[in-house]
């Protein structure tokens, strides 16, 4: 286990679904049989289209979603936490160690809270500090690390720009001194000129505070720049995973290739080289049998059509995993 912080073993997450009370109960297959290891100190990227299950998987790893089958192990220095088997005390400790960066903290928080109170809230809720003075010290300390102006702590959130808000959001996630951070679309709402600043801050904090990230994003260019390992999700499955540079230079899976080619090139002379995918991601209520990408695959093999293919990753280069049927 040594250098892994998180092991996700055969994890599936299903949600019950019933259109109305007379129709039959169905299952939404949000996350299917996922296996990943997140190394200590890594910036692990998770990409894929809307509805592919990124948030659901991230929340499952935080213990915020039930896990329908499989397990998630958090390897702390002294001991392991099995997320599917934790008592109240364990859960309390785990909450301090694993945190989520909200996309926009003000969407969720009272506009009447000052920035100081927003950042301090996790400390108070989790009863981490013993006095107001100690709380203030921790808040000031983390605010400075996130390059927030100390004067701003007394202000109310509404006056801040997107970039400043995001720094507040990061400070709030880091104040409990966590080891693992899930950043779910943390720069999606920011303007490009500000986005780079927040990404650089996340990188810097990673080194300074020994953090490990699960970085969820739909923006492949951003992921390519900040992540060292990337997993590509489609309809609840990881279809390809590998070291970021290798994966972006040498994509193997049809879906990864299509996704990469869809990024609009900044060069006006390179127009429409996109491998156009027909249609949209199917509903997670009725995923296609066999390869889940089959209904949109631009060049399915003869074997792929039958729907009998069994999905599962196979290693094609050291650390580079591809769904077995597409690896051939």
């Amino acid at each position: 286990m040594g250098d892994n912080l998180i092991s996700v073993n055969n994890v599936s997450v299903n949600f019950d679904y019933q259109e109305n009370f007379i129709s039959k109960k169905q299952k939404i297959h949000a996350v299917n049989n996922i296996n990943i290891k997140i190394k200590k100190g890594s910036f692990f990227g998770l990409v894929g289209e809307s509805g592919s299950g990124k948030t659901t998987l991230g929340r499952a790893i935080l213990g915020a979603n039930k896990i329908s089958s499989g397990n998630v192990i958090f390897h702390d220095d002294e001991r392991d936490y099995d997320l599917t088997n934790m008592n109240k005390q364990d859960l309390k400790e785990y909450r301090k160690k694993a945190q989520l960066i909200f996309q926009d903290p003000y969407a969720a928080l009272s506009p009447r809270m000052t920035v100081r109170d927003i950042i301090a809230e996790p400390l108070e809720v989790m009863k981490i500090t013993n006095s107001r003075q100690e709380t203030d010290e921790r808040v000031r300390d983390i605010a400075a690390k996130c390059r927030l102006n100390i004067e701003h702590l007394r202000r109310f959130p509404h006056a801040f720009s997107g970039g400043q808000r995001q720094r507040i959001s990061i400070a709030r996630a880091l104040v409990s001194n966590p080891k693992f951070i899930v950043a779910d679309e943390s720069v999606a709402a920011l303007d490009v000129s500000i986005q780079a600043d927040i990404l650089n801050l996340l990188k810097q904090l990673q080194v300074e505070l020994n953090l490990t990230y699960l970085f969820i994003s739909h923006d492949l260019s951003v992921v390519a720049h900040v992540c060292d390992v990337v997993a590509v999700m489609y309809l609840g499955h990881i279809v390809e995973m590998g070291p970021s540079r290798e994966l972006f230079k040498n994509p193997k899976h049809s879906y990864t290739k299509a996704l990469l080619s869809s990024i609009p090139s900044i060069d006006p002379e390179k127009r429409s080289e996109a491998i156009e995918l027909k249609g949209e991601i199917p509903s997670a209520l009725n995923p296609p049998p066999g390869c889940v990408f089959r209904t949109r695959c631009p060049n399915p093999g003869i074997d792929c059509k039958g729907g009998e293919i069994k999905m599962g990753l196979t290693e094609v280069e050291p650390g580079h995993w591809v769904d077995q049927c597409c690896a051939l």
């Binding site: 720049h225 060069d267 949209e280």
Partner: protein, 329 residues
Amino acid sequence: MSHLLEVKNLDVKFDTDEGRITAVENISFSVDQGEVLGIVGESGSGKSVTAKSIMQLNPGNTSYNEDAEIILDNENVLKFNSKQDLKKIRGGKVSMIFQEPMASFAPAIKIGAQMVEQLLIHKNINKEEAKSTSINMLKRVGIADAEKRFNQYAFELSGGMRQRAMIAMALSTMPKLLLADEPTTALDVTIQAQVINLIKDIIKEYQMGVIFITHDLGVIAQVADHVAVMYLGSVVEKGPVNEILKNPKHPYTKGLLQALPDINNLDAPLSPIPGNIPSPLDRPTGCVFRTRCPHHNPEGKDGKIEMKLIEVEPSHWVDQCGIQCGQNG
């Protein structure tokens, strides 16, 4: 030849409780038939306000300057105030598509009924013809089962399909000018590629003029013929797309390009533009970009310089301070 659309010296101001906001200041540009003008800029730069001015959709607290002109098909839209005239620019000669397609559809009316109603207002045709035009248009934008979708509500469609239906509705009246305000921003890249290709095909087919608004320079590179770069209500640079993206002159345009993570160059550091976009209530005097410009010299004259575009290469216009300030900003 006269342009399909010509915007001249447009200011747009809003009166609010906190004071008067300058959302757009002294901008000028033109669009020809069959041409796509991309307007790029970060949030709050005045892109949507500009588009809405063309359809007179800005709210009651808006004021335009006396000498501004928005000439569409040889008529000044800003002088329109009769219902008859406004009809011409709202769904007649001009149509608009949005980031959020639900903004175009009334939730309680079926898609087909809305398309038919719009056609009956703007075109001299009967109900049957309007229905077949609508269904053909739904087919044209790639909606399978168009007859079935015609009888559905917008919320019953998936995201990508709704976007297509909105485009179909906007195009069914055959506008001369299409205003597309971030139509692909909320979409996945794969669906974005589909929608971009669709819009490009349709422009070619119908030879309409298009203003394509986005904050994504990659999208601009893929769709636009000409580009106007906006910052805090001003156009700081404009010109042919190749020129602007490959030979940018203004520090803001250069900064935007450098801040963009380039998937083909993973070794390039990510360089943000320092600072934050000022509130429109604190719009800087002189050069609007000076609070974030790396060349800004506090002792220089950029606080006093009047912003004004000058032509540095054929059709490539840059704010005069933008090129001067390198030396004496």
